[in-house]
Symmetry: C2
Subunit: 435 residues, 2 copies
């Protein structure tokens, strides 16, 4: 199975655990059988491999997520990197050309596209295989998955099928309706939710892309990507396609886009350092800070704490978080990188103190800063510091001092933890010259 996972934007609705740098897909929140935690993207990857160990998985995403994907899934996954965000049609166009040119997938092979954030069980992944098999048959150009509605949601678009068979012709699409209209669609027309899951033969999509976008090859499409209009796949392709079918999926499926739905999928009420008293009812706590959280006498509340901030919200109310988060200071205090992670410890008027953790065998790029001096103090591990071309072995207790302008990098031989103090008047992450 060729599968493209659309890994979307910043996920502000799951603040403070997701931010511009770390999206909700990468939060390790689901307990696995061995007691460790996995993220949405790790869970879906594991579930796909469980139904098809030969599945070719490609993640369509932005540059900002590449490090997190490599950290969490290793390098065996394909990544179609969008130079900027341009909605689902350009994303699927780029991923399709990537599959053809970079991965060498035959145009006769079918591709399944689905979002990275549904929370589902094995039956859903079996259904993805059936979707691909239906596309293989060639009865239609596009096969959509139709999710059996559990309530008249206002959050989804609806697909009106021609009949109530497992696979039906699509009669019409309906934009997100109000609850009353949604109820009528469901009761009178057997309408199904459109969860953005579909399958097609790669050759079909390549023809569509070439019809709509003027480009030569993959590299040319990457270059032109920023100039493409923001247009959804449904609007650009699905709603205009005459040879289109829908396949019913009656099983369990959750879209983990809000704290309310996310906590429903959590097996444990507390993740991280947290305590609640017996007076708490339907409370979930996700604490990524080292300090303890104590919850007492609360009902239907989600508490989430990260170095970015602390949310305490009534669960229903948590769906309306986005405008509040937009107003908060955007500074992100924690980030995962391909080489490890960093955490901001202190923000001074002319200083910034961070803790840097490098994974064994990894290093930062060789770089310098124009406007700041830096000091490293090794608090754990061993490695090499290279400053202005001079290599020095470093280990716990060593101090490395770098003046503004001097080129430097560090490589971890074993896991290496540094306290880095940045000193200067204009400390900015943009003040970085790579070599």
């Amino acid at each position: 199975m060729n599968i493209v996972l659309l890994s979307g934007g910043s996920g502000k609705r799951l603040w403070p655990l997701s931010n511009d740098i770390r999206s909700k897909q990468f939060i390790k929140i689901f307990k696995t059988r061995d007691g460790s935690y996995e993220s949405m993207v790790q869970r879906i990857y594991r579930q796909i491999k469980a139904v098809d160990e030969d599945a070719r998985i490609t993640i369509a995403t932005s540059r900002a997520q590449v490090s997190s994907i490599h950290n969490q899934l290793g390098s065996q996954v394909g990544i179609s990197v969008e130079p900027c965000r341009r909605d689902t049609f350009p994303a699927i166009a780029l991923a399709s050309v990537y599959l053809s040119e970079v991965q060498g997938v035959n145009p006769e092979e079918s591709v399944v596209v689905c979002p990275v954030d549904p929370y589902a069980e094995e039956e859903y992944f079996q259904a993805l295989k059936e979707l691909q098999q239906q596309a293989d048959k060639g009865e239609a150009n596009l096969i959509l998955m139709g999710l059996q509605p559990t309530y008249p949601s206002e959050k989804y678009g609806y697909i009106i099928p021609a009949d109530n068979k497992k696979v039906s012709r699509v009669l019409a699409f309906k934009e997100k309706p109000d609850a009353k209209t949604a109820g009528e669609y469901i009761n009178n027309a057997g309408a199904l939710w459109n969860g953005g899951v579909f399958s097609y033969k790669l050759g079909y999509m390549l023809r569509k892309v070439h019809e709509m976008i003027d480009f030569d090859d993959y590299n040319d499409l990457v270059r032109k990507f920023e100039s493409l209009p923001k247009i959804s796949f449904d609007y650009a392709v699905a709603e205009k396609e005459e040879h289109i079918q829908v396949m019913r999926f009656p099983g369990q499926w959750k879209d983990l886009g809000t704290w309310n739905t996310l906590t429903e999928a959590m097996e444990e009420h507390c993740v991280g350092n947290a305590t609640m008293d017996d007076g708490c009812d339907n409370v979930h706590i996700v604490n990524e800070l080292e300090i303890p959280i104590l919850a007492m006498g609360l009902k239907d509340v989600v508490i989430s704490a990260s170095p970015d901030g602390i949310l305490v919200s009534d669960k229903d109310q948590s769906s309306y978080i986005k405008p509040f988060v937009d107003k908060l200071e955007p500074q992100s205090m924690f980030a995962e990188k391909s080489w490890g992670s960093f955490r901001i410890l202190d923000v001074g008027s002319e200083s910034l103190t961070i803790k840097v953790t490098l994974k064994a065998g990894h290093g930062m790029n060789y770089h310098s800063h124009r406007n700041r001096d830096e000091v490293w103090i090794v608090i754990q591990g061993a490695g090499q510091a290279i400053v202005e071309g001079v290599t020095r072995e470093i280990r716990t207790g060593d101090i490395v001092s770098m003046k503004a302008g001097s080129r430097h990098r560090v490589i971890a031989c074993e896991e290496l933890q540094l306290i880095e103090v940045q000193l200067g008047r204009d400390i900015s992450k943009n003040d970085k010259q790579k070599y």
Copy 2:
């Protein structure tokens, strides 16, 4: 007026803002007219001075609070330092001997004793003066303040007066009763709350202390303090005194011992970096962290965050916090000192990173550590570092490295901020040799 403020223990009921090092009395939570914030101890000090600018104020407390008192009130306040905690009678005994021997107060002068944590207005402080004037008259040896009950509380002891005049003879004391019994005391006997406020002539108390404790002078009492039994003033003195009166106080008075009562006294719903949506009703947030708190759709909830932890509690439920806090890790991440403050930034397996802020003109004592190296990086300000007798001027960007065993201190010429990284296997605050 001579007034002794009893400044009690660790105040775990106001966790995470109060801890073993910083008690609730020192939390800056009350907004003043000029827009800044003051603590309980600053507020009560200001209020006493407003009714009697010549008041001689003595705080009876433990060594752990001395730095905070000097930070918040300066050096004009007297402090009777208890070598350890031994309940209210030994505390009042020591404070009385301190007033006589250290402060030279005449035995004929009256003294008012009251707890440091009531939240009251000017009328209460006027009533303290009246209490002292009543003691001056010499009609009785001990004059208690009787607080007019507002409900049949189970939290207080009760005083039964002989009649309903403003000043009455005390007929009896009643230990903390259940609510039903408390109602009967109030309705049938005109009982008053015993808030631990009273006045006496210093000579009377000195005689009582010498009757009950065998000691020579103030220094001898300090030495013997640890051997004294833990006994309350009510039990040791008040309940046995025949010449005892109660003076009614019918005005506003709140005991700020729990989050529920404390938040009732707060003028603002948010202190610190906090946002709440319109769906929040009767919610208070006190945030001492730099990261934002967002509260949505909550009712009757208190949220408090400090470097020690995060509390989210239904207000009524918050009275039952103590056993939960007892179970939490006791590590305190922030402390005020006479020379400034420190905050723990990172706890490693063999390292500890802290931010130290020294006030201009202040310094640490000359000291050394047996088991850890230390590194200072100056991130703001200027001062002097003295290591093994060698003095060096330091300013922003300078690095000072100290091996285990080397004596060191730092003095701030202007406000000085340091990142201190401690490195070693057995990092402990007890590993400190002073010179």
